[in-house]
């Protein structure tokens, strides 16, 4: 087999930036049509730029559609589910998918379709709450550490070191073990484990902006520290942290399901994908009962992949330099 000359790729990197820009933008007719309505949308110009870059990534658009769809399922869950997900029917257990029960029934005769839709709501609540909590705490502590420096910086960084010393799943188990089982306990456990990375990212970008000229300028006209951090540093430093937190939604959903799979965290009276898979384990090799683990697994995979694609798209569109 002959290998093609690798140096053939070299010239690609030397294409002038302007050429690249037009090459990327011209095939997109919507992007060129935008300037006509410029006056109206001027305030959100940056958002429009982000959206234009985001649209180029087809996978990210698919991911966004799936995420929006999941959010709708989560909100409309009480009206969509045909059965009460906890209602047992011991005469109709472990049945494969049928017209009555689209995803079949589990070992207690509960409707799997209803349980999985209910699981969507739980996953969305846990995923978004963990993201929000770790983002808020991470931004605040990271900005303080980066902007103030000194003792408070060392203190916050040592705390992040200690939290990061626990392998993720073991740390979460430990926190749940201390606080007990429950949805909020799981959310708090996962947030405790994810804020340190957010804080470190925020500290890093704050540090690099602290000495920049425009911050110096703001300081010289007498802006207070609070104003400098919230109005000048935060908008420019938020991108990496925001992207990390968003990509962490899928991770949080998987972590919740992993804990539930091990019988930890989410209580048994809430239908949860990981627990549904764990319930299917005894009948794994039984012919005709694959639906019991296939459908919850698909739900988890679709959710995590969708959020991962959206996070990828956001990373490329919010801050192209990060790639």
């Amino acid at each position: 087999m002959t290998t093609p000359p690798q140096s053939g790729h070299e010239p690609d990197t030397h294409v002038p930036a302007e050429v690249l820009m037009t090459a990327f933008e011209s095939p997109d007719p919507d992007a060129d049509a935008v300037p006509s309505g410029q006056n109206k949308a001027k305030a959100s110009g940056q958002l429009r730029d982000i959206w234009r870059r985001y649209k180029r990534n087809k996978l990210a658009v698919v991911g966004l559609v799936v995420v929006v769809f999941l959010m709708f399922l989560a909100i409309l869950q009480p009206w969509i589910t045909p059965y009460d997900p906890m209602e047992q029917n011991l005469l109709n257990t472990e049945n494969p998918p049928s017209a009555d029960h689209w995803f079949g029934t589990d070992s207690l005769g509960r409707d799997m379709f209803s349980a999985i839709i209910y699981g969507v709501r739980l996953a969305m609540i846990v995923g978004w709450s963990v993201m929000f909590l770790s983002l808020v705490v991470g931004l605040a502590l990271g900005a303080i550490a980066g902007y103030r420096g000194g003792a408070i910086d060392s203190l916050i960084m040592r705390v992040t070191d200690i939290v990061l010393a626990f392998p993720a799943l073991i740390g979460a188990i430990l926190v749940v073990q201390i606080f007990g089982n429950g949805v909020w306990q799981v959310i708090i456990a996962l947030a405790i484990l994810s804020w340190p990375t957010a804080a470190r990212l925020m500290r890093g970008s704050t540090l690099s902006l602290r000495e920049s000229e425009y911050v110096e300028a703001a300081r010289s006209i007498g802006a207070s520290d609070t104003r400098i951090v919230t109005k000048h540093i935060l908008p420019n430093a938020i991108a990496p942290t925001l992207i990390y937190s968003f990509s962490h939604i899928g991770v949080a959903v998987v972590a919740m399901a992993s804990l539930a799979f091990l019988g930890i965290g989410i209580p048994a009276d809430k239908p949860e994908w990981g627990r549904m898979i764990a319930d299917a384990v005894p009948s794994l090799n039984v012919e005709g009962q694959a639906h019991m683990w296939v459908f919850p697994s698909l739900a988890i995979v679709v959710t995590t992949l969708a959020f991962a694609f959206v996070a990828d798209g956001l990373r490329d569109s919010i801050d192209p330099k990060l790639r």
């Binding site: 790729h9 200690i162 073991i170 995979v301």
Partner: protein
């Protein structure tokens, strides 16, 4: 370099002390480890004996010191459930977990490096796109879904032993390990492939690679010697950290395949609120994780001298 190592080691020791303190505080002070919970009742005399053993009737600071001393002398007390010496249980589980971790790491290095190099060398071709899709799936699909899928599809077929195990069938260790090792390796192999592709592409653009090609070296030498050595550094880091995680016990994989390692033991102990087993395993997991991360940092500074300047 010596200064860097000393600083890094001191840092690791501090983190370990703080982490063990937190574990102690969480499991012994915030929750009484010897209390009966749920349907479980612990006889009062055993509660008393264990309190005595762990020094629970002493002042807080003394308790903490006794706990540290017990950890150092491998005196972990008695398992609530089977009334066995916890030290013995750990001695049986640690080698099994270590074996699994090492084999999983070997598999993921071979698959990950090969896939990463192939993808980088043939960038934007069908092979590259195919590998990218596979790695995206490998990273996106949770470990327990992969494990359950493998167990449902393969266990009991060909050479793979049936799970759950039967007491009458003896299986050699390599048969037992093969499915869990692949389950563990898939996620990390995908990560390594991605890392390797990224850093390889970066290195291939460097001037010294062009020089190597210009002086007429074969493509095999350019990739295998010049590009590989410099692009493998991030993979070394990642593999070290991931070994640190795996040595602490692969909770989910070991549970799925009923593999008798630390992770299996820990999950069962947690379900039984069996604190004397939970504590040493968690401490061990944190210890291996921190020690390996530190070693990786030092190795990284050795491999890439630019790092030492920070």
């Amino acid at each position: 370099m010596a200064k860097f190592i000393t600083r890094r080691l001191a840092h690791a020791v501090l983190v370990i002390i703080a982490a063990t303190f937190l574990i102690y505080l969480g499991l012994f002070v915030l929750g009484d480890p010897f209390a009966s919970s749920g349907e479980k009742t612990v006889p009062p005399e055993i509660q008393e004996a264990l309190r005595e053993k762990f020094g629970m009737n002493q002042p807080f600071f003394m308790q903490y010191l006794t706990y540290l001393q017990n950890m150092f002398t491998f005196d972990f007390g008695i398992d609530f459930e089977q009334r066995r010496d916890v030290g013995e249980m750990l001695a049986a589980a640690v080698p099994a977990t270590a074996r699994l971790a090492v084999i999983a790491i070997l598999i993921e290095i071979v698959i990950g490096l090969t896939a990463g190099i192939v993808a980088a060398v043939s960038q934007y071709t069908f092979r590259d796109v195919f590998i990218t899709i596979i790695t995206t799936l490998g990273i996106g699909i949770p470990v327990f879904v992969i494990g359950i899928g493998l167990r449902a599809g393969l266990s009991g077929e060909w050479v793979f032993p049936a799970v759950p195990r039967s007491f009458t069938v003896e299986t050699p260790w390599w048969q037992e390990i093969i499915l869990p090792a692949f389950t563990l390796a898939i996620l990390d192999a995908a990560f390594i492939a991605r890392l390797m592709r990224g850093s390889m592409l970066e290195v291939l653009r460097a001037d010294y690679v062009r020089t190597a090609r210009a002086k007429g070296l074969s493509e095999r030498k350019v990739i295998g010697k010049h590009a590989f050595r410099n692009s493998v550094i991030p993979v070394v880091t990642y593999t070290g950290v991931s070994l640190g995680v795996l040595l602490g016990g692969a909770l989910i994989t070991e549970t799925i395949f009923e593999y008798q390692g630390l992770g299996f033991l820990l999950v069962r102990a947690i379900q039984q609120h069996n604190n004397p087993v939970i504590v040493p395993i968690v401490v061990f997991a944190v210890l291996t994780f921190v020690v390996l991360s530190t070693l990786v940092d030092i190795l990284y500074a050795y491999l890439d001298p630019r790092i030492r300047l920070h």
